[in-house]
Symmetry: C2
Amino acid sequence: MGVTIKDVAREAKVSVASVSRALNGQAGVTAETLGRIREVAARLRYVPDNAARSLITRRTHTIGALLPDLFGEFFSELIRGIDLAARARGLHLLVSSSHDDADEAAAALRAMQGRVDGLLVMSPHADADFLRQNLPQGLPTVLMNTVLDSDAHAALSVDNYGGACLLVRHLIERGYRQVAFIQGPPKNRDVAERELAYRETLAEHAPGQAPIVLPGDFNEISGYRAGQQLLAMQPRPDAVFAANDMMAIGCIAAIREAGLRIPEDIAVAGFDDVPMARYVTPALTTVRVRIAELGKTALEQLIVQIEHTDTPPRAHQRVKAELVIRASSDSQWQGNDMRFAATQD
Amino acid sequence: MGVTIKDVAREAKVSVASVSRALNGQAGVTAETLGRIREVAARLRYVPDNAARSLITRRTHTIGALLPDLFGEFFSELIRGIDLAARARGLHLLVSSSHDDADEAAAALRAMQGRVDGLLVMSPHADADFLRQNLPQGLPTVLMNTVLDSDAHAALSVDNYGGACLLVRHLIERGYRQVAFIQGPPKNRDVAERELAYRETLAEHAPGQAPIVLPGDFNEISGYRAGQQLLAMQPRPDAVFAANDMMAIGCIAAIREAGLRIPEDIAVAGFDDVPMARYVTPALTTVRVRIAELGKTALEQLIVQIEHTDTPPRAHQRVKAELVIRASSDSQWQGNDMRFAATQD
DNA sequence: AAACTTGATGAAAACGATTACGTTCCGCGT
DNA sequence: ACGCGGAACGTAATCGTTTTCATCAAGTTT
């Protein structure tokens, strides 16, 4: 093991208490001794042992993130947002992802105990029972995009409903009437909200138009298959709203393969605005979710909880979503990839 | 604080030593007492405190990853690979990224002290001096894609040279002669190796053909600008090799905007094979780097070091790169996005 | 039956920090 | 001269584990 506080104390000819005080900037230490201690600490390359420190202070200065799977651009952005916000506050980030089943997620959660000051949870397994069973009580937690509206924990999610409404209304305004919807994984809350918005907006703005709903699983392949089904329908829908961008991209591939034009014959739209969306041909109309901001907001809410353990968490916050119109629903679109990228934050 | 080992001991009417032995699966405890202890521990929801444990065992079961910036698909994949491999070994992952300057990176490195059992470092600031100053000696470390060939630390990088050779040779075999190269950020080792391969392969297989090199910075915008420069040249190059995929995509945008055909008028190729590469139009020829595998290999090498602190690290390992031919350099290309995606690992 | 092994268990010492509580010492007011 | 207050610093308890070593009972060998 390296150099400990005792070594510094001996070398500076003071007690460990003084070293601790000096290095933590507490009062009760002369300018002279402080200087000497600092000098010795620097010379010896002393770094306090985090384990020992957090054993007594009960603080780890680390927050944990429990995520479903790191695959894809969505999580890349999410982690980035969280990491950035955490760094700004001097916190560390412990990530844990890719849990195949609830048991694995539970084990991961348990392993976080005593390692983190707070928890960011985004997991398909995180239903009410799971959380009650496995969440260490007393540990500040923020739930993200989970299936339940827990009043025991703070929660944060994307405004799926609002975003999807904007999108469907846009399609109808452009003259598309027979708008189909491609679903995501079952029991996914985001998908459910997007679908509800689709159905209600359709009913309101295109009355008499029956909803057309196809299954999907968030992967591009399922979007491709849905696209093929769609093309075989009589009458053929003239627009598709996929529950996420990857499926929309798959759908575009199917439609172009069949020789139809987008958006003249069929319009296509997605959800998320992954970076890829503006590079596919035609560029994809979608709903932009400020993913990094979602992560940042979640972390900030968590910090509030950590610092004010007493105050109850704010019930449920929403991150707004905005419509991004591109060529896949608008033949007039003149967007230039590069100009767009340059103005991105 | 929650329930401690003492609570369990009292409730099970044994000493804390027995509880520790029982729960850690050590010998020297009757089946009967073991059962009782297990039962009590489960009932009380006992979870050992990690800080206390690692204070005495000197193990954190956590590895740290120091990364430059989480932006983009590359790091998403890299973290995913590391996380997967770590999880398989019961290790946790502490990530730290986005360090604007060397001081910040140094602080991050210091903060890792005592928090991790080993370190994965991929940082532009990680030169020899920086490492000597800030790397806690004795802490197992694996360097990834760094500028130096340190013999003090294990290192791991992508076979940039081999991959780029394959790519340039492919272009020349397809009949392209005036192949241009778009550089990445200066002082980036990966870029330097790719450029060297470009120059040497060109000299060998297309003797007399002078290299054409344009600046870039890994962003799509710089690729776009390079594309415009390229189009203004006399004579106009008939192929471009961009040092990464994002620049290649920007370059494609510039070429298509000018109304030229790819690959008939100009061929385009990149490096990395980011997921997006197969969805742009035309689909991008590139060199596939198994990024997740890179992360996994790095982690495994780190584990070897952790478990055998005595044996010196293996000098320098390479992760191989493979050529992926798509429409941007091959008009015959019949690839189907969906089929490809389905067979992806 | 005494001595000796064996295996289960408990008491207590680590680990490296923070911090409550004493102690010392100096200066000041009376 | 004496007491008193407060600043500077040291002693030791503490956090929750693991682990060494001693203890003790029961069985085995002679």
